[in-house]
Each structure stands twice: as C-alpha cells, then as structure tokens.
Symmetry: C2
Subunit: 324 residues, 2 copies
C-alpha cells in the first residue's frame, strides 16, 4: 500500500508528521510512504526503510486562496497530488488548508462521474459505546444547492455502509426543527428531494442537540452549517473536559476522588475525544484524500493515517464508484 503525505501542512510543523510516519511504520509493515516536504526539515527520515522523500520548495498557508494555491506548483500539497497520481498511491493525507485540498483534489484527482461537488465527511462519537455517525459536508463547500445535498446523502450512505457494515444507514437532515416544513429555503427543498429519493433511507429532520445520542447514521447539511456543527460540538466537549479537570483540582478530596474514578474518566474522554477520530475524508473525488486536523499532534495524525489505511484496505473509492 502506498501513502503520500504532505509533511508540511498543519500548524505543528514537521515534528508532528515525522513522528506520526515513524509510529505508523511500526504498526504496519505493508505500507510505504512518499513524504513530501523540505529536504532539510525531513532529514530525520533519511534512510528510513519504506520511506521515499520527495522534495518540495513551498508551503501553502492555511488561509491560502484555493485558486492561488493551484498555481503554486512547488508547494508540498501540489507535489503530493502529483505524486499520488504518478505513483498510483492508495491514500493522500494532509493537515494543511482545507480549501486547497478540495480545489486541488477536484482539479487533479477529479470528481467521480456525475458528482457535482465533493464533501468532507468525518465520524463523530456518540454516547452509545462504539456507535459513530458520519456528518457531511463538514466544510468542503461554503454554499450548496439541494442537489448537492442529495448527492452528499447518496455517497455518504454508501460510505457509511462500507465503513460500518450497516445495510441501510439512517439519513437525517440537520435542521432547526423536526417538522417537515422547518428550515431555510435550502433545507425545505432538500427535504422534499430526499423524501422522494428511494435510494436513500431518509428518516427526516434532526435538531442539532440530537446527533450525539446515537440515533442517526448519516447527518446531511451544507458546508457552512456543517462547519458550525462540528466546531460547536468540539468546543463544547473541550470546555466540559477543561471544567472537569478543574473540578478535580479543587481540593484534596476531589483530588482523591480523581484517583478513584480515573479509569471511568479515561473511558469517557476516549468516547468523546475528537483527537482519536481526527481526520475527514474528501468524498466524491476519484481518490482517497484525507484531511487531518490543522492542529494535529502526533497522535491525531496517526489516527488520520489509520483511517486512511482502513479505507484504502476496504477499497472505498472504487466501491462508491460501483455503487453510484
């Protein structure tokens, strides 16, 4: 299996990506890496078996204009895309700019036949142990049509079925109320299209306080709203974790309490830890492109590599193509 890694993307520099590649090599002996980046910075990887360093001269900024990004042929993400094609790789991972990944992905790797827009999807944890749901679009797009949203529902349903072995994934539309007539113009229109599409197991609208309860498999929304949903959830979970940690430090008794309940809390934080599910897939393009969290640390980046490995093994892109 061949992975190509944009070593330069992300906020935390090459130490993170180098650390993650090294760790992942220990876990799997059937993967080889093409590591794209500044040759000087990647020195620690030199001579590592199953690693090919491919030099790049530029790094795209996190807020780069996607159109501008396409002209920076020497940037690590662009060379990663070229390498993906040239070496017939199975997976590309980058923690860099989402906008650039989407535009480069569409431009170089191309969309799947019939798909107008790709979408970013990622699994979310729920309060039900082991149960995850997948939300699309988490921000590959800023504005979407109802036709886009129906396509997201189709490809994400196929993705969910393949990734979680669920025959008929339950699809919900993220909305401001559960009744059929709720929502802005886009959501009202999308509701009707989803309802009348027999290839989608559409259940109805879902309010934003519900998904973590585990009833839904596939949650559909436009890229702007998906971004708000993802980050609100992330922010609230993080705030709660911080408050819990602070609570434990209150006094000697709470510190003792922590010692006694540590194990339970480890379980809890793992259930809700966005770091262990980190990594969104760009669905709808003719390749396996993984967007790792911009602020990835080694552990998060490794879990993005793990997601890529699992999806590449299951040949997800070809299976979606066959099922479309």
């Amino acid at each position: 299996m061949k992975f190509v890694i944009d070593m330069m993307g992300g906020d935390n520099g090459v130490e993170t990506t180098i650390g993650a590649v090294k760790e992942f090599l220990k876990l799997h002996d059937d993967v080889e890496f093409f590591c794209i980046g500044n040759v000087e910075s990647l020195k620690p990887l030199e001579g590592t078996p199953r690693v090919t360093i491919v030099p790049s001269k530029e790094v795209l900024k996190m807020d780069v204009d996607p159109m501008e990004a396409m002209h920076k042929h020497e940037a690590s993400l662009n060379i990663a895309m070229d390498t993906y094609i040239k070496e017939k790789c199975d997976c590309l991972v980058s923690a860099g700019s989402t906008g650039a990944l989407v535009s480069e992905g569409v431009f170089k790797i191309r969309r799947l036949p019939g798909i107008k827009r790709p979408c970013l999807v990622s699994p979310f944890p729920t309060v039900i142990k082991g149960k995850k749901f997948v939300c699309a679009d988490l921000g590959a797009n800023i504005e979407n049509t109802s036709e886009n949203l129906v396509q997201f529902a189709k490809i994400t349903s196929i993705f969910y079925r393949l990734a979680y072995n669920v025959e008929n994934p339950k699809v919900y539309l993220l909305n401001n109320g559960t009744e059929e007539e709720k929502g802005n113009a886009l959501m009202k229109e999308t509701y009707q299209l989803l309802k009348n599409d027999s290839s989608i197991n559409f259940i109805g609208n879902m309010e934003a306080r519900e998904p973590l309860n585990g009833e839904c498999d596939v949650l559909i929304t436009d890229g702007f709203t998906g971004n708000i949903f993802l980050k609100s959830t992330e922010g609230a979970c993080k705030a709660m974790s911080n408050l819990i940690k602070r609570s434990f430090k209150t006094n000697l008794l709470t510190k003792i309490g922590y010692l006694f309940s540590k194990k339970g809390f480890k379980d809890m934080s793992e259930t809700m830890d966005y770091k262990s599910t980190g990594g969104a897939m760009l669905l709808g393009v003719n390749g396996l492109l993984i967007k790792a969290h911009g602020s990835s640390d080694v552990r998060t980046f490794v879990s993005s590599l793990k997601i890529g490995y699992k999806l590449a093994k299951s040949d997800v892109v070809n299976k979606i193509k066959e099922n479309l």
Copy 2:
C-alpha cells in the same frame, strides 16, 4: 411589577408553570402575576395572593404556523399578549412556540423604531467563572439579511452593556474561519458592514469552537445558524454530562470517587447548565418578552422568571430605545 405568564405553553404542562409561579412569589414580594390558561387546570392557583387568573380556551401547538397562530384569539399566548398591553405589564413569559411568540410579538407589541426584525438572545456560560456571552439570533428568524445582522449587533451590544455593565462589549461574527474573506455571501457582506460601523465594537470573525472560552461578549449570527450553534452546544454538554455520570457508576472505586469529588462536579455542572440560564429574550420589540425553554421544568421556568425580573428592573427595553 406586573408579570403575565402563558401558563399553557411548554411541553411539561401546567404543573411546571404553577410550581414556578408559586416558587417565584416566595422569592419576591414586589411582583404580581396574570396567569393565562385553562381555568380548571389553574385551580391550584385560585385564591393565591398577587395572582390573577385570566381564562383562555385554546393552546397553540409547538409547531403551529405563526400566521395561523395570530387568528387563534382564544389561545393562551394571544390572551397573554392582550393582557400585557391592557394591564401595562412589565414582562411576558412563555414556554410555547417560538414562531408564534415572534409573530405575535411583532404584530401586537410592535417593533422598536427602525428595527426590521427582532432577534432572540440568550446568555451562554463560559469556562471563565461568572463570565457570560450573549448570542443573537438564536432562532427568531430563519433567514436574515446583512442589515438585520448589523441591527442585531447594535441592540445586543446595548443589551449586553446594560445586563453585564461592560462599557464596550466585544462583538464577533460567527463564521467558518477567522480571516476577513471567510464565510458565505451573507457573512462576507455582514463583516464589511460591521467593520465600517463605528457604533459597534466589532473585533472580527469567530469560529464555533471558540465562544465558550470566554473571549467574546456578543456573538452575531443569523437565526438558522444560531439555532444550530445553540443546540449543538447544548447537545454536546448534555452528552458529556451523561458520560460523566456513567463513568462514576462504573464500579465501587468510581462510586467512591464520586463521593469525594461531588462538590467540584456541582460547580462544573452549574457553570455549564443550560437550565440555570434558560430563557431567551426577544430583542427589538417594544416590550419585554421572554421565551422559556420548551421543555422547561420548574427550576428552568423559575430562572426564566428571574431573568425577566432582572431585565424589567433595569428597564432594559426603554434603555435600548433611548440608545438606538
């Protein structure tokens, strides 16, 4: 001070509203209540000092069409509005349909001069003890123009200043990135208007994972996105609380842990408890209308009454009028 209460709105029936009125009467001796509802159901309040029961025959459903609601003259919310005007009340509280409250509010109580659309605002807790921020609009509208959003920023800034004694509240726009050029067409347009309005202390865009960290005072967004932000945050906090409780029940050691750390956890849950901040105010109308949470219990409804009391005492509606 005169309060009018829609006793019939909300999911949990009159026991909740009756319980809340009784409890509130004990806390404040300067308030009298007009309680609107079914006379039979309100029997337990009969003869209570400082309580006038005003009969109503109908109850608006939570999903009532706002236009239809206006024609149901015998509905508890409509009679509450009429009573508010007739008795020159200081505050109206309802846990019923948001849509109906907004349309009735605009139709009967009227908008403040120059204000095109009212907005629902509510305080959110943050990880900084005692610090709250206020978000508008939480769902009085489904779709907004940039002009609406600038008006929300203006009236919510005045509201924040009055409610929290902060001279120049820091205003942020909820967006999918911090850079100036981020967002959909509405957010880009609003950014420019806010930036060029010297009456607003506009700092910039804020991503949805940030507000709970306490940096922002006033968070501006359209009604659809605000609803998603509010409910995502609520859902995530609730999921975390449930997981914490479950963690404590894991085994004997974690149960002992709970006994030791109980106090700290009480602090934490109070910080993040949406029940104790429950109640959004409809800002931009010529009266003090409070929307209590649809699923209010007695405690939540009492806190909505408390918010109403505090805002009525500070004469917030007239002060906003003066400041506009």
